[in-house]
Amino acid sequence: MTDCPDGAVRDLLPELVNDRLAPDVRRRVDAHVRDCADCQQEVELLRALRASLRRVSVMDVGTIVSAIPAYRAPRRSWGGWRAAAAIMLLAVGGTSVAVLQRENTAARDGGVSAVAPSGRGTSPIAQPSRAPTLPAIQHPAPELALGNPAIDELNDRELATLLAELETLEAFPSPDEDRSADLVVPSPAGTD
């Protein structure tokens, strides 16, 4: 079997047999292949190889899907908790420590324990352990935040900026840091 001297066309034959060429390119390649015995042979071989390569395995879709956790929007659940807490820090400013102390006392006295936000996932990947380091802060946060109209009106972007600024102060621990490092998968476009 000899190789077609038109290297550019030959290079496109795998995409031709996989039906992945743009219509105009496809017309051009088809026209060439019609008159080229070398390419016809290669297309035939590629079709056979493709069938051979694709013979492997049939996956059980149901099993895979059952392991996939439900979607959790980044800001609604975990991020939302941090946003609320961040707002509280801004809203009450210097009094936050007092609030925190009072809440801790209340929790101790009333036997109320703060509940950590929990992942809904079923897999170990989606359900990492993440105990917030400031559990008492999340309970009073919503009321305080709602009580401040100026902060109520912040949109998501402004909240994100606010959070970013707070992060730089290191006044707020980031219990999910480990997890984010674990979960971030780089976009292929960012490689090379």
Binding site: R54, S57, M59, V185, D192
Partner: protein
């Protein structure tokens, strides 16, 4: 899954990958089923081309769990399938590093290691097909990965480079070397 099913599934009937992702994020679990059904076999073939034999299903499942858990990290700059391949590849490499999948370390490096016998050979009855399978099995691991993505999936060199962690130019060279080797083996 056959080609026809592959194509019938995609775009026209059920929506694009991006649409299905949006639907899944808004709570439609069936969208995940469609996405997994659309890509699972391709991911399985890719994982197999990485030299994984016994734990293909586990790797494929982990790939989807990981992908869906970090779906907001998928920015749509590449095809979803390419992104899934990059996740699968990373899982396999990580697993090899931690030796969770034992006995697969042989093919981590693309040195002189070649597979002289592929267990799938024995399952392939047809003589012509058996020869083709044998020819592919004799490629170097990287050649086999690139060749599988190019011929089996029809991916562009850019997509292949992203999936296997190489450059576009290197992917092209690997493909043509693989094709030449296969022709020589089949002409013998």
């Amino acid at each position: 899954m056959t080609d026809v099913a592959d194509r019938a599934d995609s775009r026209a009937d059920q929506g694009t990958d991006d649409e299905l992702i949006r639907r899944w994020k808004s709570g439609e679990q069936r969208a995940a089923t469609l996405l997994v059904g659309r890509h699972a076999d391709s991911v399985a073939r890719f994982v197999t081309s990485l030299g994984v034999r016994d734990d293909v299903e586990d790797v494929v499942q982990d790939t989807f769990v990981r992908a869906f858990a970090s779906i907001d990290g998928f920015r749509g700059e590449s095809r979803l399938r390419t992104w899934l391949f990059t996740i699968a590849r990373r899982l396999v490499l990580d697993a090899r590093r931690s030796e969770r999948w034992r006995g697969e370390q042989v093919e981590v490096q693309d040195g002189d290691a070649r597979t002289d016998f592929d267990p799938l050979d024995a399952m392939v009855a047809d003589e012509a097909e058996r020869r083709m399978h044998g020819a592919v099995a004799r490629l170097t691991p990287t050649q086999r990965q690139v060749f599988g993505l190019r011929v089996g999936e029809g991916m562009s060199y850019r997509e292949i480079a992203d999936a296997v962690g190489t450059t576009e130019g290197a992917a092209r060279v690997h493909y043509h070397n693989a094709m030449r080797a296969i022709k020589e083996l089949l002409d013998d």
